[in-house]
């Protein structure tokens, strides 16, 4: 099959991921809009100030930022055909993403024990659905990265696969920037 020429000089799949990211802005935008519009309108506690754990979340924010660093280094390694480095950094993305998810699981179960459930109040409903959907996106990203790692170990992640890694990376970084916004508007601005 002959590959079609691209009008903008951007591979189709890369542009497709950017278009999808543009759409995802509206998805997380609507969730954040609802969280902010409903802020302070719960009729019962616990309130964000009582329950949110800033030190823990600061650490997991740092972890997710560093996973983005691992992601660009992985892409760089794949494009330069440095197979060992590629496996190392893709593994790093998975480990850091997994650590972030573990932090979220701990946070959620801790909140449940403290009395903040999905049903308890408006804050619980909006908080868990917003951060839960972000966590689901991270989970999809981790599965995607694991697929790339398996490909790398099978020797099928050469430089000709650079676009595959770059598209996965765009998704990963987007999930990271969404967290940058959530960390600020949910955790820090109370």
């Amino acid at each position: 099959m002959s590959t079609h020429a691209t009008t903008f000089g951007v591979p189709h799949r890369k542009m497709a991921m950017w278009v999808f990211i543009g759409s995802e802005c509206m998805f997380f935008g609507s969730l954040i809009a609802t969280y902010l519009s409903y802020k302070g309108k719960s009729v019962t506690g616990p309130t964000p100030a009582e329950i949110l754990n800033i030190p823990l979340t600061s650490v997991s924010t740092f972890v997710l930022l560093m996973s983005s660093l691992a992601m660009v280094l992985a892409l760089d390694a794949v494009q330069r055909d440095q197979k060992g480095q590629a496996k190392l950094w893709i593994g790093g993305v998975i480990a850091l993403g997994g650590l972030f998810l573990a932090g979220q699981v701990y946070e959620f179960s801790h909140f449940y024990h403290e009395g903040l459930t999905l049903q308890e109040n408006l804050f619980g409903s909006t908080f868990f659905v917003l951060t839960g959907f972000h966590g689901a996106h991270v989970t999809v990203g981790v599965i995607w990265m694991a697929t790339l790692l398996v490909m790398a170990f099978r020797g099928r992640l050469g430089p000709e696969r650079g676009l595959d890694v770059e598209v996965a990376g765009l998704y990963w970084h987007f999930v990271d920037v969404v967290w940058i916004v959530i960390f600020t508007v949910v955790y820090l601005i109370q």
């Binding site: 590959t3 079609h4 020429a5 691209t6 903008f8 000089g9 951007v10 591979p11 189709h12 799949r13 890369k14 542009m15 950017w18 278009v19 990211i21 543009g22 759409s23 995802e24 802005c25 509206m26 997380f28 935008g29 609507s30 809009a33 609802t34 902010l36 519009s37 409903y38 802020k39 302070g40 800033i54 600061s58 924010t61 740092f62 930022l65 560093m66 983005s68 660093l69 992601m71 660009v72 280094l73 760089d76 494009q79 000709e160 650079g162 676009l163 770059e166 990376g169 765009l170 970084h173 987007f174 990271d176 920037v177 940058i180 916004v181 960390f183 600020t184 508007v185 820090l188 601005i189």
Partner: protein
């Protein structure tokens, strides 16, 4: 025209740039947490934090997502989504009477 060959011709930043950007991101995150804990900054906490987090957002998009080195059409696509989403967030907050950038002193 080959997708892959063309893709490789696109210049990306060097590894040292990536490490530097990551360092700046970490420092901004520390600043954000500091702003949260410093009492006299709390009256203007929202604008300060929004600027800091927008800076982080821009750094990741420009360097890690390569928008700085890539075609402008990709920046345009992201901006379209971001602008409409930000407008909807603002409008809904106004409609729900939830917009208060400055915390009461």
């Amino acid at each position: 025209m080959n997708e892959i060959a063309e893709h490789q011709s696109g210049a990306h930043a060097s590894r040292s740039t990536y490490w530097l950007v990551a360092l700046i991101l970490a420092i901004i995150t520390m600043l954000e947490v500091a702003v949260f804990y410093i009492p006299f900054l709390r009256t203007a906490i929202a604008p300060i934090l929004l600027v800091l987090s927008a800076t982080k957002f821009a750094l990741v998009a420009m360097f890690f997502m390569h928008l700085r080195y890539d075609r402008p059409i990709l920046t345009a696509i992201l901006s379209t989504g971001l602008v409409v989403a930000a407008a909807i967030i603002l409008a809904l907050m106004l409609l729900f009477g939830a917009l208060r950038l400055m915390a009461p002193a």
